[in-house]
Symmetry: C2
Subunit: 229 residues, 2 copies
């Protein structure tokens, strides 16, 4: 009997790549990626394509959330809001929060999953250690799962799985190394697309994660991986 | 003190136009419209523009859900699935159901509403009388409201309001007439854009509503408004 299908939201970052590896252990894979006018859109899409090849995804879909760019309200989609540098601050929603973005992603994953007959949606949200984005909270995913149950066909049964939500960035790196995740095909920097900046919130987290795990980050950094940590 | 702002999801149909009139009694208005590759997209968008003028919306936003067209699974977005003619059948999800479409709409309304500082999202969903779409169920909206509460900034407070959800189509027409809704600037037909077909599920419902209300539908019908009822 063939394994059940799961839709995996793959941004091209580290967390979703490790999540994809975890999903692939149990499921056939449908990889979903979203462009939403973010600064590093081209690099993230290139990583998505490479990851879909690597994980042998049976289906891929790239959606454009052009509305999110028009709506703005985030340093990732509005060039007039600078990307914050340094470590995230506890209890403060970062300027890189794209308002309710993950709901757009889950909606697309659900629509696609309903048509494909998927049983699960995997999302690489991280809450405990890093993001500070309200749409990465575990309770948000439970509420959205209930909305899926009520808002789709009676025969549709789609769970949301967030296997790395409570891990530290260091644990995510270790898990990824154990699963053979090709970290050279991932991208985390919020502001640069060739060499990572090493100083934005996302680079800081990534570098901290590799340092904690005692692993080497294969990505090129503008000022060398040591300088930003 | 200025009135609070509400985002109104305006498809250009009858239900959302009456909902907009209800919202306008209490709120300043931000009108949101979605193109999702539906057959009658151009006519619906034209109605949206006319309705935004009529109701003096302070803000308008048109978003493209290109992913929904790519995903398909509905007679509205997939030309190979015929539009069903005749009255909806109780307990059967219509072929015109666009998988989880209203979640995409609510996600866009929430992102925009969060940036604009809106206090409510109005949606013209109808459940009791007509649609049979799972994403028109009252419980779906309550679950999604909870997802909004949990998935947005702590200071964001956005309610979902569905003022016509329990009305019959006849009651919606009467309510619209009382509120001065310009029904000539609305569009309901699922398959034609110049003269309404009078036979698709949506035309049938609309004609039934006008008949029940004892009102004249100002729209042109291909075979005359009487023929389809």
């Amino acid at each position: 009997m063939s394994r059940p299908l799961a839709v995996v939201c793959v941004s091209g970052g580290m967390d979703s790549s490790v999540t994809a590896a975890i999903a692939g252990a149990e499921h056939r894979l449908a990889f979903l990626h979203a462009n939403y006018g973010q600064r590093t859109q081209a690099r993230e899409l290139a990583c998505f394509r490479q990851l879909a090849d690597h994980f042998q995804a049976e289906h891929t879909l790239v959606v454009d959330f052009s509305g999110l760019k028009a709506i703005g309200g985030s340093s990732l989609t509005d060039e007039s809001v600078p990307v914050r540098e340094g470590e995230p601050v506890e209890g403060v929603v970062p300027t890189s929060y794209v308002p309710f973005r993950n709901a757009h992603l889950l909606s697309a994953a659900t629509s696609w999953g309903e048509v494909l007959g998927a049983v699960a949606i995997y999302v690489g949200a991280v809450w405990e250690d890093s993001s500070g984005y309200p749409d990465c909270r575990p309770e948000f995913y439970r509420a959205f799962e209930e909305a899926i149950r009520l808002g789709t066909r009676p025969e549709t049964r789609i769970e949301i799985r967030t296997p790395v939500i409570s891990l530290t960035t260091g644990e995510i790196v270790r898990r990824g190394v154990a699963l053979g995740v090709p970290f050279d095909k991932t991208w985390s920097c919020y502001q640069e697309q060739d060499s990572a900046c090493a100083v934005c919130e996302s680079c800081r987290l990534r570098l901290r994660g590799f340092a904690e795990a005692g692993e080497r980050d294969p990505l090129p950094y503008r000022a060398g991986p040591g300088s930003g940590a």
